[in-house]
């Protein structure tokens, strides 16, 4: 307890609610001539409050549609919560997603730079890292060929390497990724573990795999229908979760 009080929070999520309006497209006809339709609002996340310490690893578990990915996207800044606040204390953040902004007709090398810059790195930072990304991806001379000529395995290898080598302070992982053939799968998994295990980095993982969460996380948050059902030691929460799901 004492130790955790020393460490600062890297992520503070306070009383966050996220709604989806199911009926949201206005057409001109509707705006002028129809009665105001009752807007259906779907509350994906309801009054969620939690925080993650710097260097902490938080796992989020819950059944499908319980708001896990929505919450993760809100933390990544892709959309804002309807109420409540998310404070990242000025850390850089990225959502681990494969192949953001890939252009099929461009070479792998060009795509690395584009994708990296989209992740918020400067041109120079990406170019400094580009060799290590290419090494890690193991796709050889294909790196200078257009991405559309890649096999799907090569595509995901390259995509994975970009996200793995360009590191941010806070990493958000939606399902632990392992891609490619058997050899690369092992390599990528161990790289993931290395990235997640790094104590300077704060990680939030969304997963259905109880094994992964038990192995990697300091803490587990259980979301159920958009609300927090429990948060605490991985073993306790996961046990409750398994029990609950077995019903």
């Amino acid at each position: 307890m004492e130790k955790s009080e020393e460490a600062k929070n890297a992520v503070e999520v306070t009383d966050v609610c996220i709604n989806y309006k199911l009926l949201n497209n206005i057409t001109v006809r509707r705006a002028l001539f129809k009665k105001r339709e009752e807007e259906e609002i779907f509350e994906a996340v309801k009054n969620v409050t939690f925080s993650v310490k710097e260097g902490g690893i938080l796992g989020i578990i819950g059944k499908n549609g319980s708001g896990k990915s929505t919450l993760l996207r809100a933390i990544a800044g892709i959309f804002s919560p309807n109420s409540g606040s998310i404070d990242l204390k000025g850390h850089s953040v990225s959502l681990m997603a494969l192949g953001i902004g890939f252009k099929d007709n461009l070479s792998g090398r060009e795509n690395i730079i584009l994708s990296g810059m989209l992740l918020g790195f400067s041109e120079k930072e990406v170019i400094d890292k580009i060799e290590s990304i290419i090494d890690f991806a193991e796709i050889g001379s294909f790196i200078d060929k257009p991405v559309r000529t890649y096999s799907s395995g090569m595509h995901s290898k390259l995509a994975f390497s970009i996200t793995a080598m360009l590191e941010t302070d806070i990493m958000l992982v939606d399902e632990v990724l392992s891609v490619g053939d058997e050899k690369f799968r092992r390599k990528s998994l161990s790289k993931m573990k290395e990235l997640i295990g790094d104590r300077n980095r704060t990680v939030i993982i969304v997963s259905h795999s109880i094994e992964t969460l038990r192995e990697m996380c300091d803490e587990v948050l259980w979301l159920h229908d958009g609300r927090i059902k429990g948060m605490g030691e991985p073993n306790d929460i996961l046990e409750q979760y398994v029990e609950f799901m077995a019903k």
Binding site: V28, R36, G77, F79, K103, E110
Partner: protein, 362 residues
Amino acid sequence: MILLNLVMLLGPPLLGWWLYINKLHLTVKRSILQFLGYFFVINLSSYVVSYIRGVKRLVFDDMTVSYRVKFFCMGCVFAIVLQSLIFIFKRNMYIFKHLKVDILAFKRDMKKYFRYSVRLAKADLRTEVANSYLDWLWWLIEPFCTMLIYVFIYGFVFQVKEEYFTAFIYIGLTIWSFFQRNVMTGVNIVRSSKPIISKIYIPKYILLFSKMLVNGFKMLISFGIVIIMMGVYRVHITINVLMVIPIMIDLFLITFALGVVLMHYGVFVRDLSYITEIVLRMMVYMTGTFYAVAKRIPAPYGEILEKFNPIAYLIAAMRDVLLYGKSISYQALFGWAIFALIILLFGIATVYRNENSYVKVI
């Protein structure tokens, strides 16, 4: 007679009122107040217009039917306009509160993402020509051929006579297609970049900005042809040619401003792309792409069109400085720049307030 008077005066406010209460459930008292407000505003504006047009007093007894019909129609138009204005303002009032924050954010983001948008633009240009036989030559061939078509139709069939007609049309066409392409891209850009924006945060206008760089580059290439044509025609070049740069900046600002605003509404209003297409098609003929608006459309409307349509003004100005060696009014140029900046500010602020809900809608 009395019935006619009643219809004339009460009809339009009723329409506006009906459009309004349709959507809200108000108390009886409030909706009556609302109606009275509409009644005064709409009839007052109709009266003001007819006053300006020369009818100094409303004498109900010697009113012609045609006047009544006009009055009524004008009222209906005002009702719809009023309704739309209320609708738009209600949605956007809160935006103005955060203007200063947004300007700072705009500066910061522009700095942060500028390199990215340039890279993206280059990449787009490269992909566009990657698989065609004629490569970047298409950027010359396409506008050139369009120009030939219009020269044939307007110069040969309709016998429009202008000095340096080919270059005249070409300048109009180049500027217009820059404007049109960007506006159309703007309307659809959020939807079409779903793969990016659903995975990562990026200020949405950066995507538009990048596309504008692409189109801007193509426009510059087209202007290369203009220079060649000027050489062929042996156009007398004056110092006024330097005004090309501020004209270009104006064009860029106006297009960007309009694009950003349309981008925002394009997300929520699905049919906006149809509407924009129609409006643009109409505008192309009012902008003087193929003829000189101020000369061809009878006075005073030609002048008015050129004065109140920034693109028409810019096209005319561009022709004046490049082909006819005339100087142009700095005030108008400056005025349009200010206008564009205000719209841009409004657009950027709107986008910042709303962009995080775009993903939820598309």
